[in-house]
């Protein structure tokens, strides 16, 4: 029936045309900052906080570990200061813990090792999609924060790092729910050895219920703040500032 064939052809070509213009529309929307705001992570954050509560991330057995745990992001900071510290095996390295705390304090690696420790075999999930399972040993962030006593107005914990991308320093931040979670540790050991440089020596964050980019490496300073607005680009982390990645990376 020629009449209906014509209709079908017209329909198909207009569908194709419509599809192409819809795609162009998606691209235009993607470039609009206000659209990115609408597509925010607020709902994910709120929903997961309710659903997940204080649940623990799965811990694995030694047999389930990745035979080869790949590195990612920066594998060695370029800063002279950090390289000097690395040259003496971080003997002179100190972790500064300050900001909205009652007793700001710095810790040597030996002091951190003498604090309560936790070892966990957990899965590292990169935002790109891959996963690796490794064993981490460190001091619970909660134990460090208890030493310096958080001020009541502290709402976020910021991790300042020694590495940078094109001169912009890496940093990350988490809320207090994750900061005081028992599996959130400042790790100085990996797979039964000292934390390798490629994985963030001398100290990296493990925040097991979030994606890999939250697990800041090469940590130099832990700062308690009330707002993330004044730090870096104001969105709470290097990738959050640089590429509009979610600050809350539970998904």
């Amino acid at each position: 029936m020629p009449r209906s064939l014509l209709t079908r052809r017209r329909l198909l070509s207009s569908l194709a045309l419509g599809g192409a213009s819809l795609l162009a529309g998606c691209d235009r929307l993607s470039q609009s900052p206000s659209f990115q705001e609408i597509l925010g992570e607020w709902l994910n954050y709120k929903a997961q906080r309710v659903l997940v509560g204080s649940a623990l991330a799965r811990e694995y057995t030694a047999a389930e570990m990745s035979p080869d745990f790949r590195t990612n992001g920066n594998t060695r900071p370029r800063s002279d200061d950090w390289n000097r510290l690395a040259a003496s095996n971080f003997a002179d390295w100190r972790l500064m813990v300050d900001g909205l705390v009652e007793a700001p304090q710095s810790f040597s690696l030996a002091e951190l090792r003498n604090m309560p420790s936790r070892t966990q075999i957990t899965r590292h999930d990169c935002v790109e999609g891959w996963s690796a399972i490794g064993q981490w040993t460190g001091v619970p962030l909660a134990a460090v924060l208890d030493r310096v006593r958080l001020s009541p107005n502290a709402r976020f914990i910021v991790l300042h790092c020694a590495d940078d991308f094109s001169g912009t320093p890496y940093y990350e931040s988490i809320d207090l729910v994750d900061a005081f979670h028992p599996q959130t540790i400042l790790a100085y050991g990996m797979n039964g050895d000292v934390l390798p440089i490629g994985h963030g020596a001398p100290l990296r964050l493990r925040v097991e219920r979030q994606l890999g980019y939250k697990h800041a490496k090469f940590i130099m300073r832990v700062e308690a703040v009330e707002s993330l607005a004044g730090i870096g680009g104001g969105r709470g982390g290097f990738w959050e500032d640089a590429g509009s990645y979610y600050w809350y990376a539970g998904v």
Partner: protein
Amino acid sequence: MPDIEYGAAFPKTSAYDQRIVFRHRLSTRLWHWTNAVVFFVMLMSGLMIFNAHPRLYWGQYGANPDPAWLEIGSDGQHGFLRIGELTIDTTGVLGLWSDASGLHARAFPSWATIPSWYDLALSRHWHLTFAWLFAGGILLYGVWSVLNGHLRRDLAPRPAELKPGHLLADIKAHATLSFPRGEAARNYNTLQKLAYLAVLGVLLPVMILAGLAMSPAMDAAWPWLLDLFGGRQSARSIHFIAAFLLVLFVVVHLTMVVLAGPVNEIRSMITGRYRLPKETP
């Protein structure tokens, strides 16, 4: 429904001896068009997310040093899709392709992804925002379809329809592209019912759960997700396979719409009113 009953004959309005019946409820139509948008956005933003690490694994872990069962890549000269031992040259479509901005060594091409350029963060915004639309839609539709009898009356096959003889006849009817006419066209046919139920009851739940299993926070909340799929990387693989099966479903669905009479079919999904095809003499 004010003046017409569900399935009631509509007064003759055309010169043809064909009756117009009310075929699709408002809830079905709303969900259909929500999904039409959600499907394409989630598929294409999903392909962009896949582009960030175009390798699939089985098990709890899986990264570059580990063996991938599926990989899309490029050796610089050719694009390839590798599934197990089988490698297919996909230059121009997958792995290595060109668009207006030049040659790209990337898994899925720009015309198939949202956004069209490489941007993992943005594709995640699209994917995870439309996931909420999808979740809200399927929840409302699911509850409503049970309450208003859509599931029982229109989707669940009757015992007689599942008899081998009937199934065989339906398969034959599909294979010869002879579509139901007259009164028989008023209801979904058996294969159609089974396809819809498979998507609603199996594919979409698997898709949703495998998606949730990729969230490290959800894995903490519901550790059974990891056991259900055999690990996060298995869940990622299954999510990808389920997406591929959904694409197949949509291709078949659209083909059937075109073959069965696109104007009548699309109108029925917009207004609810469907013109019963004339009985063959």
